[in-house]
Symmetry: C2
Subunit: 321 residues, 2 copies
Amino acid sequence: MQPVSFYEPVRERLEKVNSSLAEMAEQKHPFLAKLLDHTFSTPGKNIRPAITLLASNFHRHDERLTEKMAIGVELLHIASLIHDDTVDGAALRRGKLTISSLWGPKGAVLVGDYIFAASATLVCDTGNIRVIRRFAETIMELASGELQEMAETYNPEQSMEGYLERIYNKTASLFTTAAESGAILSGAPEACSQALRSYGHNLGMAFQVVDDILDFDGTEEEIGKPIGSDLTNGVVTLPTLIAMKHKACSEVVKRALESPNNSDLMCEAINLIQDDRVLEESYNFASRYCEKALDNLAELPESHSRDSLEELVSHVKVRRS
Amino acid sequence: MQPVSFYEPVRERLEKVNSSLAEMAEQKHPFLAKLLDHTFSTPGKNIRPAITLLASNFHRHDERLTEKMAIGVELLHIASLIHDDTVDGAALRRGKLTISSLWGPKGAVLVGDYIFAASATLVCDTGNIRVIRRFAETIMELASGELQEMAETYNPEQSMEGYLERIYNKTASLFTTAAESGAILSGAPEACSQALRSYGHNLGMAFQVVDDILDFDGTEEEIGKPIGSDLTNGVVTLPTLIAMKHKACSEVVKRALESPNNSDLMCEAINLIQDDRVLEESYNFASRYCEKALDNLAELPESHSRDSLEELVSHVKVRRS
């Protein structure tokens, strides 16, 4: 777990989340145990379960319920990463070989299914049908976001509207559910749940926009993949859409997407998108979601948890990896 | 839908299930719509949703709930077939090209995830936490059954106990859930739900055992794949376990599993397993589960639905495909 201050109010509870994950690997069947142990032995950044726990902290409640939810949220994230890595043929995740590169796509698809289902059983333990249904819908949205991205690959004619819907589905949906479920399960009044739900939505949108910017603005070391990978793989994101508002750039990007193996052309397109003004406009776009997230928090009473959720907004804005 | 008499008491309701599936393909996103339309355009045999509906017929209840459940049960079955076909690289399903052969493994894994999640949202609509949790556990059991099978591939040292656990997970678990959930959602008393739960369990075990026998006893036309495919792919099933009780046969099977590319040796092993006594003992094994399923039904009041569930047992015993 990262030693960052915004986890402070829920540090101990997040440790419980990670030990519960590790315990899940204690299985009767050695093969399943091995796959789960590999999966859980390198904890992630825990951003999503931290949001659930922080969002639950505004009201006294049975903390076991929100811990189950936080584990479910992290498991869902992990399962979706396993399937993403499998279908994208990724060799590494968090610096370690992926399940699919170690045990092949069959093991990876099946263990992903297992973890998706395990996440759902944890959420069932909350006993709250509204939260359980919202969670199942989130899995549908995640999958449909990835399918939309797949369908639009190498298509230069994309709308901002389509992009925003896609990043909501693939990223912001789970942030929304993480925050809203924490609030609902803590017994928060509806207005508070709605504010936290909107916070999760806006934070998640900012998170994915920054992710898409870092693909052009980061270093290979920071983002763990070659610069411009999204475009090279035919995925059109915000910086590309902004750059394409300029006719000359639009022509180059279109030609690059038509001939993705022409590396000179692809480099030219990436260079044009890396233009300072394009990146600045992209960061401003993310900042507007961050501002909205802060406005959502302003509706909540002051507390350490609210401070932490605010810090999380700043972290998302300036993060480099 | 097959024109078989045991569907009669729930024929109209099963038609509703199939039209609901077809309606699910009406999606805003053309790519998702296309994949779902392809998936639902050839209805399956509907055995699992029929079990749910028949099991619900012993008590008057809100039929919309059990129809949602039946759709969820069929969707779960469909999602698991899509992932199975993807990880096994199967080209055909129900005589049509599979999603993965038409749109690649990425589309197939993601649409499978989408359908798994869609099945869970339908089950959430029943509002019954016990049923919802059992449903999520069933997805875990399905995945872990497939993982167990994968881990044991080409291993001749397998126990009957391990085989039975594996076929419970990969097949009988969903039959159990299909029957039990129909009973629970109809408001049946606990004894009736337990009888139907056991019925589903025993029918599902018989169903998979017969499936495993047909791999040796069917014709290529009936089972849609070459005879002995399980063994050729390293999967040890009941007929193989029974045949291996004879030392001479055990030696041949072990050598065949050690050199799966030696087709002469594999043919010799398959021939030995096709021995009449081996197949008879295997069918007797299935019959014992069928008898138990009939005993479970005897605990229920006489009705058309009970007759249908009895017929279903006979169908499973004599089915050839």
